[in-house]
Subunit: 435 residues, 2 copies
């Protein structure tokens, strides 16, 4: 159930594990196998068309033996009879059911939220229609600074639209990133004309059929468009109604095989929750690569294999204005909120030799447990090389490499591609000095 | 003794360890603290001037309390009396002597090698003069494909000079890189008009005062310039004459504190040899970042501290034509030559989402020991992110992370900065499947 990264990860992995398995994917949408993460960049005209976001054709799934039922809604699940009720198909039996039902925006309970002009960026067909509407928009508000919303701020700005970001937090993505790390993004946006309102909330959306302005705790803002950037909530309505156990985040609880409370039902992706490697806190609503990996684990196990999914350390990264930001696990803000003891080391470095064209600044902050001297988190901002360093530090956190080892790491020095001093090593050296 | 990356690493670290230490640096050159690695890129006009390569002014060293004696030659060492004989200064005593005397090109024993027009890329003042000469050159040969020579091929080509690369090896940098990895570089050079002669040797340089052509095993080539790209050999004449023990590579033998066979003498950088972490084979002639790190270790210990230098795993990387190449420790060629058992996993990936502007291909080959399942080497070519991945895999090799762990690594997926599938993980998955 679900045609996103998790659902297609399931289908491909199940077929890989046992080619004789009959694999049916149900999706309420017209398409599978496109990259929803690319939508903000088409709106921003970095990518020329939505067609570019499609990864595979419908024929390719047919060729792989994966039977996709498009525009088909599953209405209910009966775990005792091992059947689902499918719109237009009636009762359908299963040996193993895999829930990959994804997420929805946590729609704010604000008057007028049902008006036209209020955009939840998610589905590609809807995005194609919204893109035409964007041509008519003069002013827009972005409501809360989730990752997609951060990308939409820049996208709307690239379209020449006046943008106001309204976020109840004290700085952008305050639940993920530390203020010192994100400060250059805030400054970049402010200098390029984005109006930034932190610690503020939208109180009402106004308009007849379509949005004309929003009321906020700081006043009224004219806006023909509101992009909703609220949190992801797990889409678990059918699972919950079927008696499948949900966890503390509201996501479907799974064991390390991605099996739910019912032995014949698995779950993967944004509808499920999975433990964090450092804190053991369950997490939900991670990235497309996490969803895909979880889908592969669920698919292999559902088809008779035996794969254990590891706890996650969540390397992450993205564009934000002119910058790349990223990290692993916890920043100072979150570690403090969780009561985790930590010591930090910070370094300002450069990505190539100081004199080489294209050299960019990069800031790395590492957090370590003062007792074990292991990495519990990292935060970064820079002009290049953030994704690769986040992946690296994800493995460092997972395998328990100490900051002492990082402080003495070897690094590539070659003027065109790397500086004499690697900022990860410098940050680790600063951290070790404090320890 | 020596004003390169190692020597200045020594001086700064000794002062950091004990500010009361009197620190004198002897260099035969006019300058210290410039980046010789940048020279090919100034010749190639990627960098506008040689002045850009200077990292610090002479005044900055004075301010740090580091006494640099420029254009000063140390003539001999007496380890019993703990003195050195310095040109123009006479006998100078020391408590601790640190040898950072660097390297020389292994000058080929070829008739005519003393002619004008034969360029050993190394010193910045010489490079400034050579740069003027390059304006007069129509055709050039590059003799052997060491790393600096690889960069010079592209630099000369960017200057509009006809370039012929003549290398006795079967492909470029054959002692470091595998043929499948370097093939796109060879193709790129061939397509852009570089003449490539592998398995060939220069037999004579011809000219009256200045080079006019070279004879090779395949015929004669007109050339007003020959860039020598032979191996680095450790500059150990004074150390050897003083009775300090040399190792199997010809470099000065040191213990993990970078101490030589004489307890009052340390060595660091290209003049010393250091054990490889996987094979324990001694290595010499690594990168500027290795020299600097060794210098810091030697400086700290010489000034009364206690730092152990780890065996090296040698992450490396560089530009080569349009590509970045890099790796860690051994490729297939070298592992086979050394008789190390290994299994490979190879993956062709991409650096960003397939549809995102600036996306580049990237190929990763991993080598693992089939018994321990640990990484013993990696080889990569791609359009971006090679340096960061090499650093990452250097720590993987050093800490013994298995390919099983790499095969299940988490990775950042965000269209503008990273693809859904990380090529390191894909290569590890291919390797695990073979194991």
């Amino acid at each position: 159930m679900g045609g996103g990264a998790a659902g297609l990860g399931v289908a491909g992995a199940a077929k890989g594990q046992d080619p004789s398995v009959r694999t049916v994917v149900y999706t309420e949408y017209e398409d599978v196998a496109y990259s929803p993460c690319g939508i903000p960049f088409v709106h921003g005209k970095e990518i020329e068309s939505f067609e570019k976001l499609f990864l595979a054709t419908k024929e390719q799934y047919v060729a792989q033996g994966i039977d996709v039922h498009y525009e088909t809604t599953v209405e209910s699940i009966d775990i005792r009879s091992r059947t689902i009720k499918v719109g237009g198909e009636g009762e359908v039996g299963y040996d193993r059911l895999i829930l990959a039902t994804g997420w929805n925006y946590d729609t704010p309970d604000i008057p007028g939220v049902e008006l036209g002009g209020i955009y939840h960026v998610k589905n590609i067909r809807a995005a194609m229609e919204w893109d035409k509407y964007l041509d008519t928009v003069e002013s827009a508000v972005v409501v809360e600074s989730g990752p997609i919303a951060m990308e939409m701020v820049s996208a709307l700005q690239h379209r020449g639209i006046n943008v106001t970001l309204i976020d109840p937090g004290p700085w952008p993505m305050a639940d993920v990133i530390d203020p010192d790390i994100v400060e250059p993004v805030r400054k970049d946006w402010a200098e390029s004309g984005v109006t930034l309102k932190f610690g503020e909330r939208v109180t009402a959306f106004h308009g007849t059929d379509t949005l004309t302005h929003v009321s906020t705790t700081f006043g009224d803002v004219p806006a023909q468009l509101a992009v909703i950037g609220s949190h992801k909530v797990a889409n678990t309505a059918l699972a919950g109604a079927a008696g499948i156990k949900l966890g503390s985040t509201g996501g479907i609880a799974v064991d390390p095989h991605m099996r739910t409370s019912d032995p014949n039902v698995f779950a993967a992706g944004d509808c499920a929750e999975i433990p964090h490697g450092v804190s053991n806190v369950p997490l939900q609503g991670l990235s497309g690569s996490h969803a895909y990996a979880q889908g592969k684990t669920a698919g292999i196990n559902a088809a008779g294999g035996n794969r254990v999914h590891n706890p996650v350390y969540v390397p992450w990264g993205m564009l934000a204005g002119q910058w790349m930001i990223g990290g692993v696990s916890f920043g100072e803000t979150l570690a403090t909120a969780l009561g985790l003891p930590f010591v930090t080391g910070v370094a300002d470095g450069i990505t190539r030799a100081r004199y080489y064209p294209g050299v960019k600044p990069i800031k790395v902050k590492l957090l370590a447990d003062p007792k074990t001297r292991r990495l519990i988190g990292a935060q970064m901002i820079g002009g290049e090389g953030i994704k690769e360093r986040a992946d690296f530090l994800g493995i460092v956190a997972r395998t328990g490499v100490t900051v002492d080892t990082l402080a003495t790491m070897e690094n590539v020095y070659s003027p065109a591609i790397g500086a004499l001093n690697e900022p990860i090593a410098m940050a680790a050296q600063a951290l070790v000095a404090k320890l």
